[in-house]
């Protein structure tokens, strides 16, 4: 590895000229990721990375036109005269003007839509987060919900933001924020994500055929790239919504070569309901609160280098007020959240090398205590609350739990840009530590059992990868990653990719690789709670199982014109060493956490995905369809996991509504999720060894083959209407955008799961648990 680094440093000075620089947004000077910088006469191009940096290496001497384009920005063209050496060329792209009726914008017709980075092999999806702001979301725009529009990604339910990518469970997808793994970025059990929307610039989703530089999960990697903040002036924006408010502010650092960005959000659900309860308007307060804060400081270092320090904190708490304490005889103190600290450094060296380093800390932590309160004397409850004889005289433990997931990581990558080759190599060290404990007192529940788990693992990964432009029409990628996870074993992980440019608009891609994973979630995907709660309780793979491993192959077709882009992917994937829970018939009997009692299985997934996007003026249509199949094999049993939807179609539209309004809609249609059908009713008897008699034990339903039937299909339509207005507040021009949105506007009765009720009045019934009903929300966004 050291020798390879030395070799690349020796190659830092190219023989011919190189053009390198940054592509930024005009005005704010924020970097633009995924912009294309082309030399049309040479048929050469480069893509900017997440920092807006690009390199066109080994360019022959001469006079060349260089064109920069980016989605949502006007194209910019310059002419450069090259002799030799390294030329720096920065672009500042103006934001695309908003078309107004009767006004023709000539530049629009020249726009290229680089929504899909043109890497060799099946490309990543890049989710342009700000562009999705117009789509309806629960309470406010949501980063992970936006990702779920992609055909590769599915949700377990309306209540979970967890990402199920190409049939893999959420623990098989690595979510990174600023290059550092992020654990459980959720609020309200996963109803929405805890990532500040305004702080995010884009999200890259690699759902398969991962390059060698991508992390060690079996299914996918999601990289959340954050904004730097404006470098020209103080900017601020925010939203006041139904249950929370958030604000984002940025300011240039002294000297103008850096920026500071702060984003914060807090719910006022607890405060509002507390005040209403104090005024006797509602019978009780909602004893739940959440908040999240993100802070990032970016400073230019050297020529084109940068150093950024970012921190993230999200916290949630649940408690009982004193009235509830007395009426329930229970005192709770539940708090949990995640934290992240990332230090990123990058420095181009010469005209052909780029060095990147990152140091990170990330954790998820929670403490859960509940005690039963005992009073001497009566407690009197009225509709206005309960009053007791004072402080409780005694307490008894109901449950006490804690969870700790921690990762300290260090990574370094270096890339060498040649005329036809881009060689990258790097290394990453992760030190994971997990502690999970749950002590049950006077509560007994088969779904939750005592837990006492403490484990740690250190992983080391190194990789090398070459992206080779073999011909003008063929790009190839070959990489090799090596993962070592101590006692869990090690694995060589080859990664391959190819892209054939059939025409300038049409390309074919093929890729695949091997993957390994040292971590697992203790969450049992077959448990009913997995449909409701997104949090992963992460731990190490059992030593007896070792690394979970997998392979995939992905083939794709992409076609794009100026206004329409289409992409079709077909994939096949298999994984093994998958830890699943003990055998239970019903999700309602499955323990929430898979601890010492587990089974080990394999999985096979395959599918076909379609993503189309059509843009014309301010109208933007996205159509996403996925046909998928996932089969788990555990012991002698083979079944489809409960979260799978065989067909999933999502259509999203953003349409102009007058000159300053927008109408957004999102329609989701899916086949029903699997469940185990009831095939019979029986009456079990219990033997009494003392009397020799049988005793009735009620009736039980008998379930057929696991998950062999399907719940009713899924249909949901969300709509949103926004109206943008310009105001002058405090001497500043301020944009104010009130919005109204309705989730599940058709009030479709989507089914979460089926609960057999053998004792129901009138005979046994299959009760459907509902998903999100008709749910209107409103709020106002502002920015200056």
């Amino acid at each position: 590895m050291i020798a390879l680094f030395a070799l690349l440093f020796a190659m830092a000075t190219p023989e011919a000229a190189a053009i390198r620089g940054m592509v930024r947004a005009q005005g704010s000077l924020e970097p633009i990721a995924g912009a294309t910088v082309r030399i049309p006469d040479l048929r050469r191009y480069a893509l900017t990375d997440e920092r807006g940096y690009f390199v066109l290496a080994d360019v022959p001497a001469g006079r060349w036109r260089v064109v920069a384009t980016a989605l949502g920005y006007r194209e910019h063209e310059v002419t450069v005269v090259l002799e030799d050496g390294v030329v720096r060329l920065d672009f500042e792209l103006p934001i695309q003007p908003v078309p107004i009726e009767g006004v023709t914008v000539e530049e629009e017709s020249r726009r290229v839509s680089p929504s899909v980075p043109r890497s060799p092999g099946p490309p990543a999806f890049r989710v342009d987060v700000p562009a999705l702001e117009v789509l309806p979301g629960l309470a406010e725009p949501d980063v992970l919900r936006a990702v779920q529009i992609l055909p590769s990604v599915a949700a377990a339910s309306d209540f979970s933001s967890a990402l199920y990518v190409r049939g893999g469970s959420p623990d098989q997808t690595l979510i990174r924020l600023d290059g550092v793994p992020l654990f459980n970025p959720y609020h309200m059990g996963g109803v929405f994500s805890a990532i500040p929307f305004d702080a995010v610039s884009s999200v890259d989703v690699v759902p398969g055929a991962l390059p060698a530089g991508n992390g060690d999960r079996l299914s996918a990697q999601v990289d959340i790239h954050t904004r730097d903040g404006g470098r020209d002036r103080v900017r601020a924006s925010g939203t006041v919504g139904l249950i929370s408010a958030h604000a984002t502010a940025s300011t240039p650092l002294p000297g103008g070569d850096g920026a500071l960005l702060v984003a914060a959000r807090r719910t006022y659900l607890d405060a509002a309901t507390g005040a209403a309860h104090a005024l006797d308007l509602i019978p009780t307060e909602v004893p739940y609160g959440f908040s999240d804060v993100y802070l990032k400081a970016t400073q230019d270092v050297g020529e084109l280098g940068s150093l950024s320090l970012s921190g993230y904190l999200n916290s949630e708490a649940f408690w009982f007020g004193r009235d509830v304490e007395k009426s329930s005889n229970m005192r709770t103190d539940l708090g949990w959240g995640s934290r992240l600290l990332a230090l990123n450094y990058r420095q181009p060296i010469g005209g052909a090398l780029l060095l990147r380093g990152r140091l990170g800390y990330s954790d998820f932590h929670g403490d859960f205590d509940a005690t039963e309160l005992r009073w001497d004397g009566p407690i009197i409850c009225t509709p206005n609350g309960c009053s007791g004889p004072g402080e409780p005289t005694d307490t008894a433990l109901l449950f006490r739990g804690k969870t700790r997931t921690r990762d300290v990581m260090l990574g370094v990558d270096i890339a060498w840009f040649g005329r036809r080759h881009t060689v990258a190599l790097g290394a990453q060290l992760d030190a994971y530590r997990f502690e999970h404990a749950l002590e049950l007192g006077d509560v007994s529940d088969d779904l939750v059992r005592d837990v006492d788990e403490a484990s740690r693992v250190r992983t080391a990964a190194v990789y090398v990868e070459d992206e080779w432009q073999a011909t003008d029409a063929l790009d190839l990628r070959a990489g090799l990653r090596f993962l070592d996870a101590g006692v869990l074993g090690s694995s060589w992980l080859p990664r391959l990719g190819a892209r054939l440019h059939v025409t300038p608009r049409l390309s074919l891609s093929l890729g695949g690789g091997r993957y390994a994973q040292a971590l697992r979630s203790m969450r049992d995907e077959e448990s009913a709670l997995a449909s409701l709660i997104a949090y992963d309780i992460t731990t190490v793979q059992p030593a007896t199982v070792g690394l979970a491993r997998g392979e995939d192959v992905v083939a794709g077709i992409e076609w794009e014109s100026e206004s329409l882009s289409l992409r079709v992917d077909a994939f096949a994937k298999r994984t093994r060493g998958i830890v699943v829970g003990p055998e239970t018939a019903s999700p309602l009997d499955a323990p929430a956490l898979v601890t010492d009692s587990f089974r080990v299985g394999t999985a096979r997934m395959r599918g076909l995905e379609l993503l189309g996007r059509y843009r014309r003026g301010r109208a933007d249509f996205t159509l996403s369809y996925a046909l998928g199949s996932t089969r788990l094999r555990v012991g002698g049993e083979e079944y489809t996991p409960r979260y799978e939807r065989q067909h999933l179609l999502t259509a999203a539209a953003a349409l102009p509504l007058g000159e300053t309004g927008t109408f957004g809609a999102q329609l989701s249609l899916g086949s029903g999720q699997p469940y185990s059908p009831v095939v019979g009713i029986t009456s079990p008897f219990r033997y009494n060894p003392v009397t020799g008699q049988w005793e009735s034990s009620g009736v039980e339903v008998v379930l057929g083959e696991r998950n062999s039937a399907r719940l009713p299909g899924y249909l949901r339509l969300d709509v949103a209407v926004r109206k943008q207005m310009e105001k002058r507040w405090f001497g500043r021009s301020t944009t104010v955008t009130p919005y109204v949105q309705v989730l599940n506007v058709l009030n479709t009765r989507n089914v979460l799961l089926a609960e057999p009720q053998p004792y129901a009045f009138g005979g046994p019934k299959l009760q459907y648990w509902p998903q999100l009903p008709f749910f209107p929300t409103f709020g106002v966004q502002w920015s200056f």
Partner: protein, 296 residues
């Protein structure tokens, strides 16, 4: 174009709102009845080592049963117990009423088939069951009778404190035993020698009394007597037996899968030791020791 799109958008939005209003705010889909689901035939039988009779209960699930037994008897079946060359026809009646007639519950004796087993149920022997239902259909099963456990403590005639009032706390006693294999379902209980008396047990860590306790996987248990009742009053000394039962693999699995507090059982586990029916065809071996319950 934009004007057209905007106009269509407004129409679509209006339609969507109208549909939503008509839809109301119904939160829950109507429960789906399970009328079409068959109510399964169930067979329950435990052969007890050393006993000279065998009984088999054949029922059909009845989730609407007002008597809360949740089952109807299935009469007129043909039931045979087979051990090697030996075949025993079990006939309706016999001591089924005593075995299955739980006070307050429906009388299932019409579905109970009993027969004498010459020489008694033999430890280590394999017994097969064949039942032909009146409407057709055959049920088969097999069980191998387990070795009885050995009760090491308490010693025969040991005095054990009993409580007759809930607030009194009797002294604990330790029961120890040996069993092979040790992972089979095991239960321990108290049987008063006087028919009108009921003696219950409770484990040290539990507060409630029960007729018998699940002690699977343990080699000993610290026990206390639970409530003891004799109708007219509990005597100062009451002869009783501490009974320890070990079950075969069938009943052990049945207890694990079907008798836990579960919503449902998987189809392949609904009948254990049986083909063609739900329930269980199992066997048990008992050990017991005489003790004296003493009021303090």
């Amino acid at each position: 174009m934009e004007l057209l799109i905007a106009s269509r958008t407004r129409a679509a939005a209006a339609c969507a709102m109208l549909v939503a209003a008509l839809g109301g705010c119904e939160l829950m889909r109507e429960p789906t009845p399970l009328d079409a689901v068959p109510e399964l035939i169930a067979v329950h039988a435990i052969l007890v080592a050393g006993q000279e009779t065998a009984s088999v209960l054949v029922t059909r699930a009845n989730p609407h049963d007002p008597a809360l037994t949740w089952a109807d008897p299935v009469p007129d079946a043909s039931v045979r117990l087979i051990r090697g060359e030996q075949s025993i026809e079990l006939v309706p009646g016999g001591d089924c009423e005593q075995r299955f007639g739980v006070p307050g519950e429906a009388d299932l004796s019409a579905g109970c088939y009993t027969g004498a087993v010459p020489g008694g149920i033999v430890v280590g022997a394999r017994y097969e069951l064949e039942a032909t239902l009146p409407g057709g259909g055959t049920i088969t099963g097999a069980t191998t009778v387990p070795e009885p456990p050995t009760l090491v403590a308490p010693a025969p005639g040991a005095e054990i404190e009993m409580r007759v009032l809930p607030e009194l706390e009797p002294a604990p006693f330790v029961a120890t035993w040996r069993a092979d294999p040790p992972n089979r379902r095991m239960e321990v209980g108290l049987l008063a020698d006087r028919q009108e008396c009921v003696a219950m047990l409770r484990e040290d860590s539990y507060g409630s009394s029960t007729h018998y306790l699940d002690v699977t996987g343990a080699a000993s248990a610290t026990l206390r007597t639970g409530l003891v009742e004799c109708g007219e009053g509990v005597p100062a000394r009451l002869d009783a037996r501490l009974v320890l039962a070990i079950y075969d693999a069938n009943y052990s699995e049945y207890a694990r899968v079907a008798l836990e507090d579960v919503y449902a059982v998987p189809g392949n586990k609904a009948g254990v030791g049986l083909r063609g029916a739900a329930g269980v065809f199992g066997s048990a071996a008992l050990a017991s020791v005489p003790v004296v319950l003493v009021r303090r």
